[in-house]
Amino acid sequence: MTELTQARTEERIREEAKKALASGEVRAVVGWCATRFDDRTRPFFAETAEECDLLVWNPYCINGTAKFALDDRYPDQKLALILRGCDSRAVNRMLRDKQLKRENLYLIGVVCDGKENPICEECQHKTPLVYDVLIGEPAKEQIYPERFRKIEEFEKLSPDERYAYWAAQYDKCIHCYACRNACPACNCIECYADQYRVGWQGKAADREQNQIYGLTRAFHVGDRCIECGECERVCPMHLPIMRQTRKMLKDINELFGSYEGGLSEEETPALGGFRLDDPDEFM
Protein backbone atom coordinates (compact mmCIF):
# COMPACT_ATOMS: atom_id res chain seq x y z
CA MET A 1 0.00 0.00 0.00
CA THR A 2 2.55 2.57 -1.00
CA GLU A 3 1.49 5.76 -2.62
CA LEU A 4 2.96 6.19 -6.04
CA THR A 5 5.25 9.14 -6.43
CA GLN A 6 4.59 11.67 -9.12
CA ALA A 7 7.55 10.50 -11.18
CA ARG A 8 6.56 6.87 -10.85
CA THR A 9 2.98 7.65 -11.89
CA GLU A 10 4.26 9.50 -14.93
CA GLU A 11 6.38 6.50 -15.81
CA ARG A 12 3.39 4.18 -15.41
CA ILE A 13 1.24 6.45 -17.58
CA ARG A 14 3.82 6.31 -20.35
CA GLU A 15 4.11 2.52 -20.03
CA GLU A 16 0.37 2.03 -20.21
CA ALA A 17 0.08 4.45 -23.11
CA LYS A 18 2.76 2.59 -25.06
CA LYS A 19 1.14 -0.72 -24.26
CA ALA A 20 -2.21 0.59 -25.48
CA LEU A 21 -0.75 1.87 -28.74
CA ALA A 22 1.25 -1.34 -29.24
CA SER A 23 -1.93 -3.40 -29.00
CA GLY A 24 -2.93 -1.92 -32.35
CA GLU A 25 -6.46 -1.25 -31.14
CA VAL A 26 -5.83 2.30 -30.01
CA ARG A 27 -5.19 5.19 -32.37
CA ALA A 28 -4.05 7.76 -29.81
CA VAL A 29 -3.71 8.34 -26.10
CA VAL A 30 -5.02 11.61 -24.74
CA GLY A 31 -3.08 12.98 -21.83
CA TRP A 32 -1.07 16.07 -21.02
CA CYS A 33 2.25 17.37 -22.30
CA ALA A 34 4.54 20.13 -21.09
CA THR A 35 4.42 23.68 -22.43
CA ARG A 36 6.99 26.43 -22.30
CA PHE A 37 5.74 27.39 -18.87
CA ASP A 38 6.52 25.05 -16.02
CA ASP A 39 3.16 25.64 -14.39
CA ARG A 40 1.09 24.74 -17.43
CA THR A 41 0.39 21.61 -19.38
CA ARG A 42 -1.78 21.12 -22.40
CA PRO A 43 -3.97 18.30 -23.66
CA PHE A 44 -1.88 16.09 -25.88
CA PHE A 45 -2.61 13.25 -28.30
CA ALA A 46 0.22 10.72 -28.21
CA GLU A 47 0.10 8.73 -31.43
CA THR A 48 3.49 7.03 -31.45
CA ALA A 49 5.65 5.35 -28.82
CA GLU A 50 8.06 8.31 -28.87
CA GLU A 51 5.23 10.71 -28.27
CA CYS A 52 4.15 8.67 -25.26
CA ASP A 53 7.34 9.84 -23.60
CA LEU A 54 6.04 13.39 -23.82
CA LEU A 55 3.09 12.61 -21.58
CA VAL A 56 3.47 14.20 -18.19
CA TRP A 57 1.84 13.90 -14.78
CA ASN A 58 2.23 16.84 -12.43
CA PRO A 59 0.09 19.22 -10.38
CA TYR A 60 -0.64 21.28 -13.49
CA CYS A 61 -2.48 18.57 -15.43
CA ILE A 62 -5.74 20.46 -15.05
CA ASN A 63 -7.40 20.19 -18.46
CA GLY A 64 -10.16 17.65 -18.85
CA THR A 65 -9.33 14.87 -21.30
CA ALA A 66 -12.69 13.17 -21.72
CA LYS A 67 -14.33 15.74 -23.96
CA PHE A 68 -11.78 15.10 -26.71
CA ALA A 69 -13.42 11.73 -27.29
CA LEU A 70 -16.30 13.63 -28.91
CA ASP A 71 -14.05 15.06 -31.62
CA ASP A 72 -14.63 11.87 -33.56
CA ARG A 73 -17.97 10.32 -32.76
CA TYR A 74 -17.60 7.44 -35.22
CA PRO A 75 -14.01 6.32 -34.86
CA ASP A 76 -12.45 3.35 -36.64
CA GLN A 77 -10.21 2.64 -33.69
CA LYS A 78 -10.37 3.10 -29.97
CA LEU A 79 -9.23 6.27 -28.30
CA ALA A 80 -7.35 5.92 -25.06
CA LEU A 81 -7.97 8.52 -22.38
CA ILE A 82 -5.93 9.19 -19.31
CA LEU A 83 -8.51 9.81 -16.65
CA ARG A 84 -8.53 11.48 -13.30
CA GLY A 85 -11.58 11.08 -11.09
CA CYS A 86 -13.40 14.00 -12.71
CA ASP A 87 -12.55 12.80 -16.23
CA SER A 88 -13.97 9.39 -15.44
CA ARG A 89 -17.23 10.99 -14.37
CA ALA A 90 -17.17 12.99 -17.58
CA VAL A 91 -16.89 9.71 -19.48
CA ASN A 92 -19.84 8.33 -17.51
CA ARG A 93 -21.78 11.45 -18.35
CA MET A 94 -21.22 11.08 -22.07
CA LEU A 95 -21.85 7.33 -21.99
CA ARG A 96 -25.12 7.92 -20.16
CA ASP A 97 -26.09 10.59 -22.64
CA LYS A 98 -25.41 8.07 -25.43
CA GLN A 99 -22.80 10.30 -27.03
CA LEU A 100 -19.99 7.77 -26.73
CA LYS A 101 -19.71 4.02 -26.95
CA ARG A 102 -17.73 2.28 -24.26
CA GLU A 103 -16.20 -0.10 -26.80
CA ASN A 104 -14.61 2.85 -28.58
CA LEU A 105 -12.69 3.87 -25.49
CA TYR A 106 -9.71 2.52 -23.68
CA LEU A 107 -9.55 4.09 -20.26
CA ILE A 108 -6.36 4.51 -18.31
CA GLY A 109 -7.42 5.64 -14.86
CA VAL A 110 -5.01 7.44 -12.59
CA VAL A 111 -5.71 8.04 -8.94
CA CYS A 112 -5.55 11.81 -8.74
CA ASP A 113 -3.83 13.65 -5.96
CA GLY A 114 -5.51 16.98 -6.58
CA LYS A 115 -4.20 19.58 -8.99
CA GLU A 116 -3.33 23.26 -8.93
CA ASN A 117 -6.95 24.11 -9.54
CA PRO A 118 -9.24 25.55 -6.85
CA ILE A 119 -12.01 23.11 -7.70
CA CYS A 120 -9.83 20.17 -6.66
CA GLU A 121 -10.34 21.12 -3.02
CA GLU A 122 -13.99 20.28 -3.49
CA CYS A 123 -13.32 16.93 -5.14
CA GLN A 124 -15.22 13.96 -3.71
CA HIS A 125 -13.95 11.29 -6.10
CA LYS A 126 -10.22 11.28 -6.66
CA THR A 127 -10.25 7.68 -7.87
CA PRO A 128 -11.68 7.14 -11.34
CA LEU A 129 -15.06 5.45 -11.31
CA VAL A 130 -14.67 3.76 -14.66
CA TYR A 131 -11.45 2.46 -16.19
CA ASP A 132 -9.81 -0.44 -17.99
CA VAL A 133 -6.57 -0.14 -16.12
CA LEU A 134 -5.92 1.80 -12.92
CA ILE A 135 -2.65 3.41 -11.92
CA GLY A 136 -2.22 3.93 -8.21
CA GLU A 137 -4.06 2.63 -5.16
CA PRO A 138 -7.74 3.60 -4.98
CA ALA A 139 -8.07 6.53 -2.61
CA LYS A 140 -10.78 6.78 -0.02
CA GLU A 141 -13.75 8.81 -1.17
CA GLN A 142 -13.99 12.14 0.53
CA ILE A 143 -16.96 14.21 1.48
CA TYR A 144 -16.77 17.88 0.80
CA PRO A 145 -19.14 19.32 3.38
CA GLU A 146 -19.19 22.84 1.95
CA ARG A 147 -20.50 21.77 -1.44
CA PHE A 148 -23.45 24.16 -1.36
CA ARG A 149 -22.19 26.74 1.11
CA LYS A 150 -21.58 29.49 -1.46
CA ILE A 151 -25.01 28.88 -2.94
CA GLU A 152 -26.60 29.25 0.48
CA GLU A 153 -24.68 32.46 1.09
CA PHE A 154 -25.76 33.81 -2.25
CA GLU A 155 -29.40 32.95 -1.62
CA LYS A 156 -29.33 35.19 1.43
CA LEU A 157 -28.82 38.30 -0.69
CA SER A 158 -31.82 40.33 -1.76
CA PRO A 159 -33.35 39.60 -5.18
CA ASP A 160 -32.09 42.91 -6.57
CA GLU A 161 -28.60 42.27 -5.28
CA ARG A 162 -28.64 38.85 -6.88
CA TYR A 163 -29.85 40.21 -10.18
CA ALA A 164 -27.30 43.01 -10.13
CA TYR A 165 -24.54 40.54 -9.39
CA TRP A 166 -25.44 38.29 -12.31
CA ALA A 167 -26.04 41.24 -14.61
CA ALA A 168 -22.53 42.50 -13.89
CA GLN A 169 -21.18 39.02 -14.52
CA TYR A 170 -23.04 38.63 -17.80
CA ASP A 171 -21.87 42.05 -18.89
CA LYS A 172 -18.37 40.65 -18.75
CA CYS A 173 -19.15 37.52 -20.75
CA ILE A 174 -17.62 37.64 -24.21
CA HIS A 175 -19.65 34.82 -25.71
CA CYS A 176 -16.64 32.66 -26.45
CA TYR A 177 -18.46 29.43 -25.53
CA ALA A 178 -15.40 28.06 -23.78
CA CYS A 179 -17.63 26.87 -20.92
CA ARG A 180 -19.77 24.93 -23.35
CA ASN A 181 -16.86 23.45 -25.24
CA ALA A 182 -15.11 22.30 -22.11
CA CYS A 183 -18.21 20.92 -20.40
CA PRO A 184 -18.74 17.16 -20.64
CA ALA A 185 -22.47 17.63 -20.11
CA CYS A 186 -22.58 19.98 -23.12
CA ASN A 187 -22.41 17.10 -25.53
CA CYS A 188 -25.16 17.85 -28.03
CA ILE A 189 -24.16 17.14 -31.61
CA GLU A 190 -25.15 20.66 -32.48
CA CYS A 191 -25.60 23.23 -29.75
CA TYR A 192 -28.72 25.36 -29.85
CA ALA A 193 -26.45 28.40 -29.75
CA ASP A 194 -24.86 27.39 -33.04
CA GLN A 195 -28.26 27.19 -34.72
CA TYR A 196 -28.55 30.91 -34.73
CA ARG A 197 -30.80 31.10 -37.77
CA VAL A 198 -33.47 29.51 -35.61
CA GLY A 199 -33.37 32.52 -33.35
CA TRP A 200 -32.83 30.89 -29.98
CA GLN A 201 -29.63 32.72 -29.39
CA GLY A 202 -28.57 36.07 -30.76
CA LYS A 203 -24.95 36.40 -31.77
CA ALA A 204 -24.38 39.71 -30.07
CA ALA A 205 -22.39 39.52 -26.85
CA ASP A 206 -24.49 41.92 -24.84
CA ARG A 207 -26.08 41.45 -21.48
CA GLU A 208 -29.41 40.12 -22.65
CA GLN A 209 -27.99 37.49 -24.97
CA ASN A 210 -25.45 36.46 -22.37
CA GLN A 211 -28.17 36.11 -19.76
CA ILE A 212 -30.20 33.92 -22.08
CA TYR A 213 -27.17 31.85 -22.88
CA GLY A 214 -26.01 31.56 -19.30
CA LEU A 215 -29.36 30.52 -17.91
CA THR A 216 -30.19 28.21 -20.77
CA ARG A 217 -26.89 26.45 -20.38
CA ALA A 218 -27.23 26.32 -16.62
CA PHE A 219 -30.67 24.74 -16.88
CA HIS A 220 -29.69 22.41 -19.67
CA VAL A 221 -26.67 20.95 -17.89
CA GLY A 222 -27.76 21.63 -14.32
CA ASP A 223 -29.17 18.19 -13.63
CA ARG A 224 -26.32 16.42 -15.41
CA CYS A 225 -23.43 18.52 -14.07
CA ILE A 226 -20.56 16.45 -12.72
CA GLU A 227 -19.03 19.38 -10.85
CA CYS A 228 -15.66 19.10 -12.56
CA GLY A 229 -15.34 22.88 -12.63
CA GLU A 230 -14.07 23.02 -16.20
CA CYS A 231 -16.55 25.79 -17.09
CA GLU A 232 -15.12 28.11 -14.46
CA ARG A 233 -11.55 27.17 -15.13
CA VAL A 234 -11.75 27.90 -18.85
CA CYS A 235 -13.73 31.14 -18.58
CA PRO A 236 -11.41 33.93 -19.72
CA MET A 237 -13.61 36.48 -17.97
CA HIS A 238 -13.78 34.47 -14.72
CA LEU A 239 -17.53 34.16 -14.45
CA PRO A 240 -18.66 32.01 -11.50
CA ILE A 241 -20.51 29.66 -13.84
CA MET A 242 -20.76 26.77 -11.42
CA ARG A 243 -22.73 28.92 -9.05
CA GLN A 244 -25.64 28.53 -11.45
CA THR A 245 -25.35 24.80 -12.06
CA ARG A 246 -24.66 24.03 -8.41
CA LYS A 247 -27.82 25.89 -7.50
CA MET A 248 -29.70 23.42 -9.69
CA LEU A 249 -27.91 20.53 -8.00
CA LYS A 250 -28.70 21.91 -4.59
CA ASP A 251 -32.38 22.12 -5.40
CA ILE A 252 -32.34 18.65 -6.93
CA ASN A 253 -30.79 17.30 -3.75
CA GLU A 254 -33.40 19.06 -1.65
CA LEU A 255 -36.41 18.16 -3.74
CA PHE A 256 -35.68 14.79 -5.27
CA GLY A 257 -33.12 13.21 -2.97
CA SER A 258 -29.37 12.89 -2.84
CA TYR A 259 -27.84 13.19 -6.27
CA GLU A 260 -24.43 13.50 -7.82
CA GLY A 261 -23.76 13.44 -11.55
CA GLY A 262 -21.58 11.03 -13.47
CA LEU A 263 -21.24 8.39 -10.79
CA SER A 264 -22.32 5.61 -13.08
CA GLU A 265 -23.32 4.94 -16.62
CA GLU A 266 -26.85 4.00 -15.55
CA GLU A 267 -28.03 6.90 -13.38
CA THR A 268 -30.97 8.94 -14.65
CA PRO A 269 -30.53 12.70 -14.53
CA ALA A 270 -33.12 14.45 -12.39
CA LEU A 271 -34.94 16.07 -15.31
CA GLY A 272 -34.87 12.89 -17.37
CA GLY A 273 -37.23 11.13 -15.02
CA PHE A 274 -39.85 11.65 -12.33
CA ARG A 275 -41.50 10.03 -9.37
CA LEU A 276 -45.21 9.99 -8.74
CA ASP A 277 -44.65 11.42 -5.29
CA ASP A 278 -42.49 14.35 -6.38
CA PRO A 279 -43.21 17.55 -4.46
CA ASP A 280 -46.21 19.30 -5.89
CA GLU A 281 -45.74 22.90 -4.93
CA PHE A 282 -48.08 24.12 -7.64
CA MET A 283 -51.80 23.94 -7.20
Partner: protein, 361 residues
Amino acid sequence: MIISKLNLNKALQILNESAQVFVPAFEVIEDRAAKKSIREKKFLPYREDLEVELEGPNTVKPPKDILFPNVEKLYQYKAAGEDSYIRETLPEETPKILFGIRPCDMRSIKSMDKVFFTKNYVDSYYARRREYVTIVAIGCTETDRTCFCDSMGIDPNTAPGADVMMNRIEGEEAYLLHAQTEKGEALLKNLESLEGPSENVKAIRTDCTLKIRKIPDLDRKLAEMFEHPIWDKVTKGCIGCGTCTFVCPTCYCFDIDNENYGTEGCKYRCWDSCMFSDYTRMAGGANPRPTKKERLRNRYMHKLSYFNERYGETLCVGCGRCIANCPSHLDISEFIEKSSAVDPKAEVYTESIRAAQGKEA
Protein backbone atom coordinates in the same frame (compact mmCIF):
# COMPACT_ATOMS: atom_id res chain seq x y z
CA MET B 1 7.00 67.24 -21.55
CA ILE B 2 7.42 65.68 -18.15
CA ILE B 3 4.56 64.84 -15.87
CA SER B 4 5.09 63.48 -12.40
CA LYS B 5 3.17 60.40 -11.35
CA LEU B 6 1.60 62.47 -8.60
CA ASN B 7 0.05 64.72 -11.21
CA LEU B 8 -1.31 61.88 -13.26
CA ASN B 9 -4.77 61.96 -11.77
CA LYS B 10 -4.86 65.72 -12.27
CA ALA B 11 -3.83 65.28 -15.89
CA LEU B 12 -6.58 62.74 -16.45
CA GLN B 13 -9.09 65.09 -14.88
CA ILE B 14 -8.03 67.92 -17.17
CA LEU B 15 -8.28 65.70 -20.22
CA ASN B 16 -11.59 64.31 -19.09
CA GLU B 17 -13.11 67.80 -19.17
CA SER B 18 -12.97 68.07 -22.93
CA ALA B 19 -13.14 64.44 -23.90
CA GLN B 20 -14.05 61.05 -22.54
CA VAL B 21 -10.88 59.42 -21.30
CA PHE B 22 -10.45 55.65 -21.26
CA VAL B 23 -7.76 54.31 -18.96
CA PRO B 24 -6.56 50.87 -17.93
CA ALA B 25 -8.05 50.41 -14.49
CA PHE B 26 -9.49 47.81 -12.20
CA GLU B 27 -13.15 47.01 -12.33
CA VAL B 28 -14.23 45.50 -9.05
CA ILE B 29 -17.25 43.27 -8.63
CA GLU B 30 -18.17 42.51 -5.06
CA ASP B 31 -18.95 38.88 -4.48
CA ARG B 32 -20.64 38.98 -1.13
CA ALA B 33 -21.51 35.31 -1.10
CA ALA B 34 -17.89 34.26 -1.41
CA LYS B 35 -16.76 37.26 0.66
CA LYS B 36 -14.27 38.47 -1.90
CA SER B 37 -14.12 40.92 -4.74
CA ILE B 38 -13.28 40.10 -8.32
CA ARG B 39 -10.83 42.50 -9.92
CA GLU B 40 -10.47 42.79 -13.64
CA LYS B 41 -8.10 45.15 -15.41
CA LYS B 42 -9.72 46.71 -18.44
CA PHE B 43 -10.10 50.01 -20.28
CA LEU B 44 -12.73 51.98 -18.43
CA PRO B 45 -14.12 55.50 -18.77
CA TYR B 46 -12.18 57.65 -16.32
CA ARG B 47 -13.71 58.48 -12.95
CA GLU B 48 -11.97 59.99 -9.99
CA ASP B 49 -12.49 56.95 -7.79
CA LEU B 50 -11.07 54.60 -10.40
CA GLU B 51 -8.03 52.54 -9.52
CA VAL B 52 -5.88 53.39 -12.55
CA GLU B 53 -2.90 51.21 -13.38
CA LEU B 54 -0.87 52.33 -16.37
CA GLU B 55 2.02 49.98 -15.77
CA GLY B 56 1.96 46.34 -14.73
CA PRO B 57 0.56 43.63 -16.97
CA ASN B 58 -1.62 44.58 -19.92
CA THR B 59 -5.42 44.39 -19.81
CA VAL B 60 -7.09 41.01 -20.41
CA LYS B 61 -9.25 42.44 -23.17
CA PRO B 62 -7.67 44.78 -25.71
CA PRO B 63 -9.02 48.33 -26.18
CA LYS B 64 -10.30 47.47 -29.66
CA ASP B 65 -13.95 47.61 -28.62
CA ILE B 66 -13.73 51.37 -28.18
CA LEU B 67 -13.14 51.68 -31.91
CA PHE B 68 -14.89 48.54 -33.01
CA PRO B 69 -17.62 47.69 -30.51
CA ASN B 70 -18.72 44.18 -29.83
CA VAL B 71 -22.25 45.06 -30.94
CA GLU B 72 -22.89 47.98 -33.23
CA LYS B 73 -26.17 49.07 -34.77
CA LEU B 74 -25.82 49.80 -38.48
CA TYR B 75 -29.27 50.99 -39.47
CA GLN B 76 -32.84 50.73 -38.36
CA TYR B 77 -35.92 50.25 -40.41
CA LYS B 78 -39.64 50.02 -40.40
CA ALA B 79 -41.78 48.26 -42.95
CA ALA B 80 -45.29 49.65 -42.52
CA GLY B 81 -46.69 51.18 -45.68
CA GLU B 82 -46.22 54.93 -45.81
CA ASP B 83 -44.40 55.02 -42.51
CA SER B 84 -41.61 52.80 -43.82
CA TYR B 85 -38.09 54.03 -43.51
CA ILE B 86 -34.48 52.96 -43.47
CA ARG B 87 -32.24 55.11 -41.34
CA GLU B 88 -28.50 54.76 -41.06
CA THR B 89 -27.32 55.00 -37.47
CA LEU B 90 -23.81 56.35 -37.64
CA PRO B 91 -22.37 56.63 -34.15
CA GLU B 92 -22.80 60.08 -32.66
CA GLU B 93 -19.32 60.51 -31.45
CA THR B 94 -17.74 62.84 -28.99
CA PRO B 95 -13.98 63.19 -28.56
CA LYS B 96 -12.39 60.28 -26.79
CA ILE B 97 -8.90 59.79 -25.46
CA LEU B 98 -7.42 56.34 -25.24
CA PHE B 99 -4.92 56.86 -22.49
CA GLY B 100 -2.16 54.38 -21.77
CA ILE B 101 -2.37 51.80 -24.50
CA ARG B 102 0.63 49.60 -25.14
CA PRO B 103 2.78 49.53 -28.28
CA CYS B 104 1.32 46.14 -29.27
CA ASP B 105 -2.20 47.49 -29.04
CA MET B 106 -1.22 50.63 -30.95
CA ARG B 107 0.17 48.45 -33.70
CA SER B 108 -3.08 46.46 -33.71
CA ILE B 109 -5.07 49.66 -34.24
CA LYS B 110 -2.86 50.46 -37.19
CA SER B 111 -3.59 47.02 -38.61
CA MET B 112 -7.31 47.58 -38.13
CA ASP B 113 -6.95 50.94 -39.90
CA LYS B 114 -5.58 49.08 -42.88
CA VAL B 115 -8.51 46.72 -42.91
CA PHE B 116 -11.21 49.34 -42.46
CA PHE B 117 -9.70 52.16 -44.55
CA THR B 118 -7.73 50.71 -47.43
CA LYS B 119 -8.37 48.63 -50.54
CA ASN B 120 -10.92 51.11 -51.88
CA TYR B 121 -13.33 50.82 -49.01
CA VAL B 122 -13.82 52.98 -45.98
CA ASP B 123 -15.94 51.60 -43.16
CA SER B 124 -17.90 54.68 -42.13
CA TYR B 125 -18.72 53.39 -38.64
CA TYR B 126 -15.14 52.62 -37.77
CA ALA B 127 -13.99 55.83 -39.48
CA ARG B 128 -16.32 57.94 -37.38
CA ARG B 129 -15.06 56.45 -34.15
CA ARG B 130 -11.44 56.56 -35.23
CA GLU B 131 -11.70 60.23 -36.18
CA TYR B 132 -12.72 61.20 -32.65
CA VAL B 133 -10.08 59.20 -30.84
CA THR B 134 -6.79 60.58 -29.63
CA ILE B 135 -4.31 57.96 -28.54
CA VAL B 136 -1.79 58.30 -25.76
CA ALA B 137 0.47 55.27 -25.83
CA ILE B 138 2.74 54.19 -23.04
CA GLY B 139 5.99 52.27 -23.37
CA CYS B 140 5.97 49.07 -21.35
CA THR B 141 7.78 49.12 -18.04
CA GLU B 142 6.99 45.58 -17.08
CA THR B 143 6.18 42.75 -19.45
CA ASP B 144 4.19 39.61 -18.90
CA ARG B 145 5.72 36.21 -19.39
CA THR B 146 3.62 35.81 -22.51
CA CYS B 147 4.79 39.07 -24.13
CA PHE B 148 6.72 38.51 -27.34
CA CYS B 149 6.05 41.65 -29.39
CA ASP B 150 9.71 42.36 -30.11
CA SER B 151 9.98 38.95 -31.77
CA MET B 152 7.17 40.11 -34.05
CA GLY B 153 9.03 43.27 -34.99
CA ILE B 154 7.43 45.65 -32.49
CA ASP B 155 9.40 47.74 -30.05
CA PRO B 156 7.75 47.76 -26.62
CA ASN B 157 9.16 51.23 -25.98
CA THR B 158 7.79 53.12 -28.98
CA ALA B 159 4.38 53.28 -30.59
CA PRO B 160 4.46 54.75 -34.07
CA GLY B 161 1.06 56.08 -35.03
CA ALA B 162 0.06 57.11 -31.51
CA ASP B 163 -0.72 60.80 -31.05
CA VAL B 164 1.29 61.04 -27.87
CA MET B 165 4.05 58.75 -26.74
CA MET B 166 4.61 58.38 -23.05
CA ASN B 167 7.56 56.69 -21.33
CA ARG B 168 8.49 56.16 -17.72
CA ILE B 169 11.61 58.09 -16.72
CA GLU B 170 14.49 56.11 -15.36
CA GLY B 171 14.87 56.42 -11.60
CA GLU B 172 11.96 58.81 -11.22
CA GLU B 173 8.27 58.62 -10.56
CA ALA B 174 7.46 60.57 -13.68
CA TYR B 175 6.63 60.19 -17.34
CA LEU B 176 8.14 61.72 -20.43
CA LEU B 177 5.52 62.66 -23.00
CA HIS B 178 6.02 63.81 -26.53
CA ALA B 179 3.55 64.52 -29.26
CA GLN B 180 3.81 62.53 -32.47
CA THR B 181 0.93 64.17 -34.34
CA GLU B 182 -0.96 67.46 -34.39
CA LYS B 183 -3.73 65.90 -32.34
CA GLY B 184 -1.11 64.96 -29.82
CA GLU B 185 0.31 68.47 -29.66
CA ALA B 186 -3.14 69.85 -29.00
CA LEU B 187 -3.62 67.34 -26.23
CA LEU B 188 -0.32 68.18 -24.56
CA LYS B 189 -1.17 71.91 -24.66
CA ASN B 190 -3.93 71.19 -22.17
CA LEU B 191 -1.44 69.71 -19.78
CA GLU B 192 1.14 72.50 -19.86
CA SER B 193 0.23 73.63 -16.35
CA LEU B 194 1.42 70.30 -14.96
CA GLU B 195 4.75 70.28 -16.69
CA GLY B 196 7.70 69.29 -14.52
CA PRO B 197 11.42 70.06 -14.91
CA SER B 198 13.07 68.27 -17.79
CA GLU B 199 16.79 68.05 -17.42
CA ASN B 200 18.91 65.06 -18.30
CA VAL B 201 16.06 62.63 -18.19
CA LYS B 202 16.23 59.26 -19.78
CA ALA B 203 13.28 57.05 -20.56
CA ILE B 204 13.16 53.49 -19.28
CA ARG B 205 13.73 50.83 -21.89
CA THR B 206 12.09 47.46 -21.56
CA ASP B 207 12.61 44.20 -23.31
CA CYS B 208 10.10 41.42 -23.91
CA THR B 209 10.22 38.46 -21.59
CA LEU B 210 9.56 35.87 -24.22
CA LYS B 211 12.01 35.63 -27.09
CA ILE B 212 11.01 33.34 -29.87
CA ARG B 213 12.85 31.97 -32.85
CA LYS B 214 10.98 33.04 -35.95
CA ILE B 215 12.34 32.89 -39.45
CA PRO B 216 11.86 36.18 -41.32
CA ASP B 217 9.94 34.71 -44.24
CA LEU B 218 7.60 32.54 -42.17
CA ASP B 219 4.62 33.97 -44.04
CA ARG B 220 5.84 32.57 -47.35
CA LYS B 221 6.85 29.29 -45.78
CA LEU B 222 3.43 28.84 -44.21
CA ALA B 223 1.71 29.61 -47.48
CA GLU B 224 3.31 26.39 -48.79
CA MET B 225 2.33 24.42 -45.71
CA PHE B 226 -1.44 24.34 -45.99
CA GLU B 227 -1.55 20.52 -46.06
CA HIS B 228 1.35 20.01 -43.68
CA PRO B 229 0.90 17.31 -41.00
CA ILE B 230 1.87 19.81 -38.31
CA TRP B 231 -1.68 21.15 -38.38
CA ASP B 232 -3.11 17.84 -37.22
CA LYS B 233 -0.82 17.84 -34.26
CA VAL B 234 -0.99 21.41 -33.02
CA THR B 235 -4.75 21.70 -33.29
CA LYS B 236 -5.62 18.48 -31.42
CA GLY B 237 -5.73 20.10 -28.00
CA CYS B 238 -7.98 22.98 -29.10
CA ILE B 239 -11.48 22.91 -27.66
CA GLY B 240 -12.87 25.18 -30.36
CA CYS B 241 -13.96 28.12 -28.23
CA GLY B 242 -13.63 31.72 -29.34
CA THR B 243 -11.49 33.01 -26.50
CA CYS B 244 -8.36 33.62 -28.59
CA THR B 245 -10.27 35.63 -31.17
CA PHE B 246 -12.16 37.75 -28.66
CA VAL B 247 -9.12 38.67 -26.60
CA CYS B 248 -7.02 39.27 -29.72
CA PRO B 249 -6.43 42.96 -30.44
CA THR B 250 -6.32 42.37 -34.19
CA CYS B 251 -9.23 39.99 -34.75
CA TYR B 252 -11.67 42.16 -36.64
CA CYS B 253 -14.14 39.66 -38.13
CA PHE B 254 -17.78 40.47 -37.66
CA ASP B 255 -21.15 39.07 -38.53
CA ILE B 256 -24.23 41.04 -39.49
CA ASP B 257 -27.62 40.07 -38.18
CA ASN B 258 -30.93 41.70 -37.53
CA GLU B 259 -33.27 42.00 -34.64
CA ASN B 260 -36.93 42.47 -35.48
CA TYR B 261 -39.78 43.65 -33.32
CA GLY B 262 -43.01 43.57 -35.25
CA THR B 263 -42.65 45.81 -38.26
CA GLU B 264 -39.60 47.55 -36.85
CA GLY B 265 -36.08 46.34 -36.52
CA CYS B 266 -32.45 47.03 -36.85
CA LYS B 267 -29.42 45.61 -38.51
CA TYR B 268 -26.44 45.22 -36.26
CA ARG B 269 -22.99 43.83 -36.52
CA CYS B 270 -21.19 41.93 -33.82
CA TRP B 271 -17.85 40.26 -33.42
CA ASP B 272 -17.58 36.84 -34.95
CA SER B 273 -14.99 34.20 -34.48
CA CYS B 274 -13.42 31.94 -37.09
CA MET B 275 -13.30 29.29 -34.35
CA PHE B 276 -17.07 28.83 -34.57
CA SER B 277 -18.79 26.35 -36.83
CA ASP B 278 -21.21 28.88 -38.29
CA TYR B 279 -18.43 31.23 -39.39
CA THR B 280 -18.01 29.40 -42.68
CA ARG B 281 -21.28 27.52 -42.78
CA MET B 282 -23.00 27.99 -46.13
CA ALA B 283 -26.70 28.55 -46.55
CA GLY B 284 -27.19 24.93 -47.60
CA GLY B 285 -25.37 23.60 -44.58
CA ALA B 286 -22.02 22.74 -46.19
CA ASN B 287 -19.01 23.84 -44.22
CA PRO B 288 -15.56 24.09 -45.78
CA ARG B 289 -13.99 24.24 -42.33
CA PRO B 290 -15.74 21.36 -40.61
CA THR B 291 -13.41 20.77 -37.67
CA LYS B 292 -11.23 22.74 -35.33
CA LYS B 293 -8.18 21.76 -37.37
CA GLU B 294 -9.32 23.81 -40.35
CA ARG B 295 -10.52 26.63 -38.11
CA LEU B 296 -7.39 26.98 -36.04
CA ARG B 297 -5.28 26.65 -39.16
CA ASN B 298 -7.18 29.53 -40.64
CA ARG B 299 -6.61 31.64 -37.58
CA TYR B 300 -2.89 30.99 -37.47
CA MET B 301 -2.57 31.43 -41.22
CA HIS B 302 -4.48 34.68 -41.12
CA LYS B 303 -2.26 36.05 -38.39
CA LEU B 304 1.01 34.86 -39.84
CA SER B 305 0.59 34.55 -43.59
CA TYR B 306 -2.62 35.73 -45.28
CA PHE B 307 -2.47 39.22 -43.81
CA ASN B 308 1.14 39.61 -44.94
CA GLU B 309 0.11 38.73 -48.44
CA ARG B 310 -2.65 41.31 -48.48
CA TYR B 311 -1.32 44.14 -46.35
CA GLY B 312 2.41 43.47 -46.08
CA GLU B 313 2.62 42.96 -42.33
CA THR B 314 2.08 40.23 -39.80
CA LEU B 315 -1.24 40.43 -38.02
CA CYS B 316 0.01 38.86 -34.80
CA VAL B 317 1.39 41.65 -32.64
CA GLY B 318 2.80 39.39 -29.94
CA CYS B 319 0.66 40.72 -27.09
CA GLY B 320 0.36 37.20 -25.69
CA ARG B 321 -3.31 37.49 -24.74
CA CYS B 322 -4.34 34.32 -26.55
CA ILE B 323 -1.51 32.44 -24.84
CA ALA B 324 -2.47 33.72 -21.43
CA ASN B 325 -6.17 32.99 -21.82
CA CYS B 326 -6.39 29.82 -23.90
CA PRO B 327 -8.31 27.20 -21.89
CA SER B 328 -6.15 24.48 -23.46
CA HIS B 329 -2.94 26.46 -23.09
CA LEU B 330 -2.26 26.46 -26.79
CA ASP B 331 0.51 28.82 -27.69
CA ILE B 332 0.86 30.67 -30.97
CA SER B 333 4.46 31.56 -30.16
CA GLU B 334 5.25 27.87 -29.85
CA PHE B 335 3.61 27.29 -33.20
CA ILE B 336 5.74 30.03 -34.74
CA GLU B 337 8.85 28.33 -33.44
CA LYS B 338 7.79 24.89 -34.54
CA SER B 339 6.72 25.97 -37.99
CA SER B 340 9.89 27.99 -38.41
CA ALA B 341 11.96 24.91 -37.69
CA VAL B 342 9.94 22.26 -39.51
CA ASP B 343 10.67 20.87 -42.96
CA PRO B 344 7.86 22.30 -45.11
CA LYS B 345 7.80 19.21 -47.31
CA ALA B 346 7.70 16.66 -44.48
CA GLU B 347 4.97 14.06 -44.73
CA VAL B 348 4.98 13.04 -41.12
CA TYR B 349 5.17 15.31 -38.14
CA THR B 350 6.09 13.97 -34.74
CA GLU B 351 6.43 16.16 -31.70
CA SER B 352 9.89 16.04 -30.27
CA ILE B 353 10.50 16.64 -26.59
CA ARG B 354 12.21 19.95 -27.13
CA ALA B 355 9.52 21.27 -29.41
CA ALA B 356 6.74 20.16 -27.13
CA GLN B 357 8.31 21.82 -24.17
CA GLY B 358 9.05 24.89 -26.21
CA LYS B 359 12.32 25.31 -24.40
CA GLU B 360 15.29 27.14 -25.80
CA ALA B 361 17.73 24.89 -27.62
